[in-house]
């Protein structure tokens, strides 16, 4: 995004379907932004959202607005010469513990041995917490046999007893079976959290699990707006929320979600699977909220060597912590040529 004085701001949309995001930005969002004042970012958010509401507010619309909104915050920071976290309300912390996150595609993409190796690699890189994403999902609900236990055993054995370990069921259970599984995972593998044990479409089931287990439940990666998050909080009552900056409407909406979450006493553990501008934006958000959870999601950079070259300076990951960038805007410069090259590859 380029301002009339030539200053540029960069953002990142949700990464699952780039052509779809690009089409939304080009055909639905651009007309609301061109010629407008970047300091009107909240008003522009409303214009983009309500101007395209019929596309369905809870999906690709919020995901694509996220990228535009993040670019506006980068631009505002650069225009004023201050880091985005200052404009977002100031800095509570300059770094955040990161947990290493990886998926196994319900056991079809990654073997048990590979999962153990990945977990060991996280520990070598300095991570002090690891999350295993089972990616069961609703269409394979309550699998029998359930590969989760073999993977959990292999990962716990690979990382040893001192590393925090938790599991994302990716909505794979009914409440009744979920309760049974969570209790067993806690007892046998000492998990510290359970993520989305049940469907994100039935918050009552989330509440049912939470009432029954003494393992904290985290949910909220697919609730992209303040209204969806509020519904999750009031009906599902999860212990932690995990909205994603590049999915949930960008920094403007994430700040609103944080305010609502804080009013209900819910800390946020950011969902974050892209080591690029999305992580930088999430770090500015995390720096600026009082109700930040004990960590945020991050991934194995060694799996994405090409993405590391897109930004300068690279994000600092030290001793298991991600550092909040300090420069104006998001605090990183984008290498446009490298992005074009990566896009063609």
């Amino acid at each position: 995004m380029t301002a009339s004085n030539g200053v540029t701001g960069w953002g990142e949309c949700d990464a699952d379907n780039p052509p779809l995001m690009a089409a939304f930005v080009e055909h639905s969002l651009k007309k609301h932004i061109l010629g407008e004042d970047p300091w009107d970012s909240a008003r522009l958010w409303d214009a983009m959202f309500f101007g395209n509401h019929d596309h369905g507010p809870g999906g690709a619309l919020a995901n694509s607005i996220a990228g535009v909104d993040i670019a506006l915050w980068d631009l505002k920071g650069k225009l004023l010469g201050v880091p985005a976290f200052q404009l977002l309300g100031g800095r509570f912390r300059d770094r955040i513990r990161a947990y290493g996150s990886f998926g196994v595609g319900f056991g079809k993409k990654v073997t048990v041995e590979q999962a153990a190796e990945q977990a060991r690699r996280f520990v070598r890189q300095g991570f002090t917490a690891v999350k295993l994403r089972m990616q069961i999902r609703e269409n394979r609900q309550n699998p029998d046999p359930d590969p989760t236990f073999a993977y959990a055993a292999a990962v716990r054995s690979a990382i040893g007893p001192k590393i925090d370990f938790f599991i994302d069921a990716n909505n794979g259970y009914s409440a009744g079976r979920g309760i049974e599984v969570v209790r067993r995972l806690k007892e046998e593998f000492d998990i510290v959290l359970i993520e989305e044990p049940v469907s994100d479409q039935t918050h009552q089931e989330t509440a049912e699990v939470i009432r029954a287990v003494d393992t904290p439940v985290i949910a909220g990666e697919k609730e992209y707006t303040r209204w969806q998050q509020r519904e999750l909080i009031t009906l599902g009552n999860p212990d932690y929320l995990n909205p994603d900056t590049i999915k949930a409407g960008g920094l403007t909406e994430m700040k609103r979600i944080a305010a609502i979450a804080d009013a209900f006493g819910k800390p946020i553990i950011c969902h974050n699977t892209r080591p690029t501008l999305g992580t930088a934006a999430a770090l500015h958000f995390i720096a600026s909220i009082p109700n930040c959870g004990p960590m945020m999601e991050y991934i194995d950079l060694e799996n994405f060597p090409e993405l590391r070259r897109l930004m300068k300076p690279p994000l600092r990951f030290e001793g298991g912590f991600l550092c909040v960038p300090e420069g104006p805007g998001l605090g990183v410069e984008v290498d446009e040529d490298a992005i074009r090259k990566a896009a063609k590859a």
Partner: protein, 336 residues
């Protein structure tokens, strides 16, 4: 509030126990703020909130004033009006609502002022029935009498808000609320039952057609949540100098909006607070009317105070709050 570069930020102070508020400002606030980054709105808010909680509402008044002054300062440093730092205006102007208080002893005077306000262009009027000491569950209750006189004087076009000062038991509040709505077209009933009586508030809200509103006597995001969840209010009233300032009002607005509760900005604490409330309300989709106008300029102490025109007030485009405190006048007015 002065920055190291010599730029100053200002606020009015809400509440009534100024000695307590002053103590919080001089001890806790001075300790938390001195040397801090002017941009740390939320960390400073949390720090001062934790430090001043035992001072109750008067601590919240101190916190609110510090927060508002810091936003004024930030706007001046950035060269931007506060509402631009909050994400820009959802609207440039907002319906202004005048406030009128009456305890039933001078109803004719209240009626006269109501007609003056209608003539001045106001289309919203908030009537505060200040009769808390009367036995209100008897026929001596002046609320209906006052409302009838004010409605007759202000004309049919005036939108009415009636504040009942928390004076009723819930069943009586329902009875009075129904009459005020049915006979005099009152839109909002504010504070029908005693503060903190959330069950009773819910009973009234469920019992009457007028929208019930509360929160103006002081409220944080957590109190606002309880007013909505347990008090079943329809509208959140937020007096910014008793609601944690701009930082907190902005959060209350996000919360209220996600639950479809409009924010009604109140500003009884002076022109700086009134301007601050207007900056927040201008940036929020579902807000209004702006209550407690006109904000007194106190014989030239303040300049740049938004003025009501044709029933509306416009948010200032000047850096910070857009209201200037004239120091020489301030000395004269306070007799210093």
């Amino acid at each position: 509030m002065r920055s190291s570069e010599g730029i100053s930020g200002w606020s009015d102070i809400g509440g009534r126990r100024f000695a307590v508020t002053r103590q919080v400002l001089e001890s806790d606030a001075a300790r938390c703020i001195t040397g801090a980054s002017v941009w740390d709105a939320e960390p400073l808010w949390e720090k001062l909130h934790a430090a001043s909680r035992d001072a109750g509402l008067n601590g919240l008044a101190a916190l609110s004033a510090v927060d508002i002054a810091l936003w004024d300062l930030r706007g001046k440093i950035a060269g931007l009006p506060v509402h631009k730092l909050l994400g820009g205006p959802a609207r440039q102007r907002m319906a202004a609502c005048a406030t009128l208080a009456c305890d039933g002893s001078h109803v004719e005077q209240a009626a006269k002022r109501a007609s003056q306000m209608a003539a001045a262009g106001y289309r919203w009027l908030r009537l505060a029935v200040t009769a808390r000491d009367l036995p209100l569950n008897t026929s001596a209750d002046p609320a209906i009498r006052i409302a009838a006189a004010v409605r007759a004087a202000a004309g049919a076009g005036m939108q009415l808000i009636v504040n009942l000062g928390g004076a009723y038991l819930p069943t009586r509040a329902v009875e009075v609320g129904r009459r005020l709505h049915g006979e005099f077209g009152v839109r909002y009933i504010e504070d029908p039952v005693s503060l903190d009586h959330l069950r009773e508030l819910a009973q009234v809200s469920e019992g009457i057609d007028a929208l019930v509103c509360a929160g103006g006597a002081g409220c944080t995001r957590w109190a606002a949540r309880d007013l909505i969840e347990h008090g079943k209010v329809d509208v959140i009233a937020s007096a910014i100098a008793l609601a944690g300032g701009i930082t907190e009002a902005n959060k209350i607005a996000a919360l209220a909006q996600s639950l479809s509760k409009p924010l009604m900005p109140r500003a009884p604490h002076g022109p700086l607070a009134a301007a601050a409330a207007l900056h927040v309300a201008a940036s929020v989709l579902t807000a209004g009317p702006a209550v407690d106008w006109p904000a007194a300029a106190l014989g030239g102490v303040y300049s740049g105070v938004p003025e009501m025109q044709d029933g509306f007030v416009r948010v200032s485009q000047a850096p910070g709050l857009g209201v200037t405190v004239n120091l020489d006048r301030l000395g004269k007015e306070s007799g210093a």
